[in-house]
């Protein structure tokens, strides 16, 4: 099994592309750093009691006033930039990842049902998808965000900010999955292996789950990878526009927004490092997605 995996075209084309290997490494690094943020980050920027405002605005170590405690300097609250980036990536990735999962589950589910059963339900789901497609994701996220914030009790908002974001970014992304899955499901549905499962009376839900789902997941993987990058950017944008996570537990986008105020005043590191971190993360994920898209697209081989 393992041997077969390493022998596959996927691995082969991976090992042949240095850029992709680099992108893969970077992505893995981000994920690991995020998962083990508590161990990796030199400080815990969320622990208010450990912050000292007198440590704020320290430049990176290599600058004249640098402080060895803070490799990349500190921000306006005295949080180490490196630590906030690590924890911020964790939040960005968490929100990005969760929204992708949310979109994926919702979209794949609806797409499967829609494509397999067809008929009125299909028409309805696709109409809804079309309406939603009328609005760019960021607008939908803004609106859902706004509405949720309006509905939720105010006191709960910062606690629920993550979930609000996940929901708004997640909901704005399911259409692509649904349409793709629906398309491939409609192709798969007519394939003979599905027919032969129907001939022996397997329940439609089981057919969808066991037969069709594994066969439509290829493109989904590609979409999900690229969607992860989009979701991370969406989160950053929402946070930049001020409707994202609270600045006490900042994501990369919030960090950029905070730092943006200091761009002209010379404290460039507060915005540039998180900006770089975001760009590199998204770039790496996009590179992976691009590569996957090319590898998994049998037509282009």
């Amino acid at each position: 099994m393992l041997k077969r995996f390493f022998d596959s075209d996927l691995v082969y084309s991976f090992t042949r592309s240095p850029v992709t290997i680099l992108a893969g490494l970077v992505t893995v690094l981000y994920f690991l750093a995020s998962i083990f943020a508590g161990f990796v980050a030199p400080h815990n920027p969320f622990d208010m009691a450990s912050l000292d405002i007198m440590d704020s605005f320290i430049p990176p170590v290599w600058e004249v006033d640098g402080d060895p405690r803070f490799l990349l300097g500190t921000d306006d609250l005295g949080r180490g930039i490196l630590s906030t980036i690590i924890h911020g990536s964790r939040i960005s990735l968490f929100i990005g990842f969760s929204s992708v999962i949310f979109s994926l589950v919702l979209g794949v589910g609806l797409g499967l049902v829609s494509g397999f059963l067809g008929g009125k339900l299909d028409a309805f789901i696709m109409r809804v998808a079309e309406i939603q497609l009328s609005f760019p994701a960021i607008l939908i996220a803004l609106l859902i965000n706004g509405v949720l914030r309006g509905i939720l009790p105010v006191g709960q908002q910062s606690n629920l900010a993550y979930y609000v974001l996940i929901l708004s970014i997640g909901v704005s992304g399911w259409v692509q999955y649904a349409r793709t899955v629906r398309g491939s499901t409609m192709v798969e549905r007519n394939k003979e292996y599905v027919q032969s499962a129907r001939v022996i009376g397997i329940h439609p839900l089981l057919i969808m789950w066991r037969h069709i789902l594994p066969n439509v997941m290829g493109p989904i993987l590609v979409i999900a990878t690229i969607h992860l990058a989009v979701a991370v950017i969406s989160e950053a944008t929402l946070s930049f526009l001020g409707v994202g996570v609270p600045p006490t537990e900042p994501s990369l986008g919030t960090l950029i927004r905070i730092g943006n105020d200091f761009l002209f005043s010379g404290e460039w590191w507060i915005t540039i490092f998180p900006g770089l971190a975001l760009a590199i993360l998204v770039l790496a994920v996009n590179l992976l997605g691009d590569w996957l898209r090319d590898v998994l697209n049998p037509k282009l081989r």
């Binding site: 622990d47 208010m48 009691a49 912050l51 000292d52 405002i53 007198m54 704020s56 605005f57 306006d76 609250l77 005295g78 105010v154 006191g155 908002q157 910062s158 001020g242 609270p246 600045p247 006490t248 943006n260 105020d261 200091f262 761009l263 002209f264 005043s265 010379g266 404290e267």
Partner: protein, 503 residues
């Protein structure tokens, strides 16, 4: 031609002088409209449309109006306009009812004389009048702007985008949130001290963009300068920042009215009712660090709830030094050795670095064991949440400028025990002290300055001892301009264009 371009972070929300009691809106309108009185660059009340006035009896003031003044459209200014304008300020939909606060009625004595009859003696009647502007009765009524904007009618009030004042500038064109063009009023009754031929005002919301616009020379002046960019503006060739003290006091309020705090893990009791807790909060906040790091020295740590420049005896009060250890002790004494949890409300686009101050406070209180859950929101949502009637807060940050520049305003609105008649309307802590209220009432009617100041001092002393509030600082003013521009900076953060000269 001397065209002066300037920017502010927002736009005046309306040109109707009675629609909104908001510093910038009224400040901008102060260049177009005028009141009976106005303030000079040092904020002293000086005559404007009223040439002189006297207190005929304690509750009757007589104003002699300036003659020969015309509105921008050429209409003559007279007593009818005064009566009309003050009446309009009292109508539903007006946000400037303060103009009529203690006024019972306004009487026309002759074409150029008006009497104001007050309910009680009010020595500071004119103090808040510098922003009570006079409109042209004929123009307003013939244009259907007889009353301030009423949203319910579903129609736009003509005065929202058109102005017809007596002031030094005339509105040439206006695109809301984009651009407002003014030109000098050639027929102004006063002698112009500026040398401008055109004024272009642009709101620029983004701090960075606003700074960039100044640095790149696209505008001549802008405010506020984000504190962190002051240095940059100064170091840039040809531009500099103008710093100065502002009158607004930023403070924290602690709920002492409810029996159980909102958004807290302490159930069944209210820690803030214990003066030791309030003192602990006071001692636990390192105001100097906030000054240095958050405000970049552009703030004056406060001991009182009023700017020192507005109260003669303020030198007698001093702020206790930062002492986190003592704060912890006090909390332990009060029965919270492990601290407690409380929710905090904070605006994020109202005051200078408001949200950052709150974050710093959160971090500092965390050090003495209090876990503060911060909710920072745009001002619209923030005010809707914390102010009455919703009054949904137990710990909050607010700023206050006494419009009259007088302590009575603070004592009545902020420190006074909340009551139906309007006292303590902005006292969201529910703090109430009978002696303070009694003193406040007396202060209003006392004309002897020394006695009055002493009573004010006593009232402040009580509230300071009881740690009724937690004053933080007076934020600084930060304007910036090209070096080629000269202008005067007023401590109330109102920008009077008739002081501008372009070289």
């Amino acid at each position: 031609a001397k065209t002066f371009r300037w920017a502010f972070q927002g736009d005046a929300q309306s040109l109707d002088p009675h629609s909104l009691n908001e510093t910038f809106t009224l400040g901008l309108l102060g260049n177009v409209y005028e009141g009976l009185v106005r303030r000079d660059a040092d904020l002293k009340i000086i005559p404007a449309l009223a040439a002189e006035w006297q207190v005929v009896e304690p509750t009757r003031w007589r104003f002699k109006l300036r003659q020969g003044v015309t509105f921008h459209n050429g209409n003559k200014f007279n007593a009818d306009d005064v009566l009309f304008s003050y009446g309009r300020a009292k109508m539903e939909g007006s946000d400037l009812t303060k103009c009529m606060a203690t006024v019972k009625e306004v009487l026309k004595v002759d074409e150029y004389t008006v009497d104001f009859v007050t309910t009680t003696a009010n020595p500071i009647l004119t103090a808040e009048w510098s922003s009570c502007y006079i409109m042209d009765k004929e123009w307003s009524e013939s244009n259907g702007a007889g009353s301030p904007t009423s949203v319910t009618e579903g129609k736009e009030n003509h005065a929202t985008r058109h102005a017809n004042g007596t002031g030094p500038f005339v509105v040439v064109s206006r695109e809301t949130d984009v651009k407002t063009v003014l030109k000098p009023n050639k027929h102004w009754w006063d002698t112009a001290q500026h040398n401008l031929t055109e004024v272009i005002f642009t709101p620029i919301g983004s701090d960075a963009t606003r700074v960039a616009a100044l640095l790149s020379g696209e505008i001549d002046m802008m405010y506020p300068v984000p504190v962190q960019d002051i240095q940059r503006v100064n170091s840039n060739e040809g531009t500099s920042a103008m710093l100065g003290p502002e009158l607004r006091t930023i403070f924290l309020g602690m709920d002492q009215a409810r029996d159980e705090l909102l958004y807290s893990n302490v159930k069944g009791k209210n820690p803030f009712k214990d003066v030791r807790v309030r003192e602990a909060f006071m001692l636990g906040i390192n105001i100097e660090a906030i000054k240095k790091k958050v405000m970049r020295n552009l703030s004056a740590p406060a001991a009182l709830m009023i700017s020192p420049s507005l109260f003669t005896h303020s030198g007698q009060f001093s702020r206790p030094a930062y002492n986190p250890d003592r704060a912890k002790e006090l909390l332990a004494d009060a029965g919270y050795p492990e601290g407690f949890e409380v929710g905090m409300d904070c605006p994020n686009n109202r005051y200078v670095n408001d949200e950052k101050i709150c974050q710093a406070v959160v971090a500092m209180l965390a050090k003495v064991g209090v876990k503060v859950n911060l909710l920072a929101q745009p001002k619209a949502q923030y005010f809707a949440k914390v102010l009455r009637p919703k009054w949904d807060t137990s710990f909050y940050l607010l700023g206050w400028t006494p419009g009259s520049f007088d302590s009575w305003n603070v004592l009545y609105n902020i420190l006074g025990g909340p009551s139906e008649d309007g006292r303590g309307k902005f006292n969201l802590t529910g703090y109430s002290n009978a002696r303070v209220d009694e003193l406040t009432d007396k202060i209003l009617v006392t004309t002897d300055a020394a006695k009055r100041d002493e009573m004010i001092r006593e009232a402040y002393q009580i509230t300071v001892d009881e740690h009724a509030y937690l004053p933080l600082h007076q934020q600084g003013l930060a304007w910036s301009k090209k070096d080629s521009v000269s202008l005067k900076q007023r401590a109330d953060n109102q920008f009077m264009i008739y002081h501008v000269n372009l070289n």
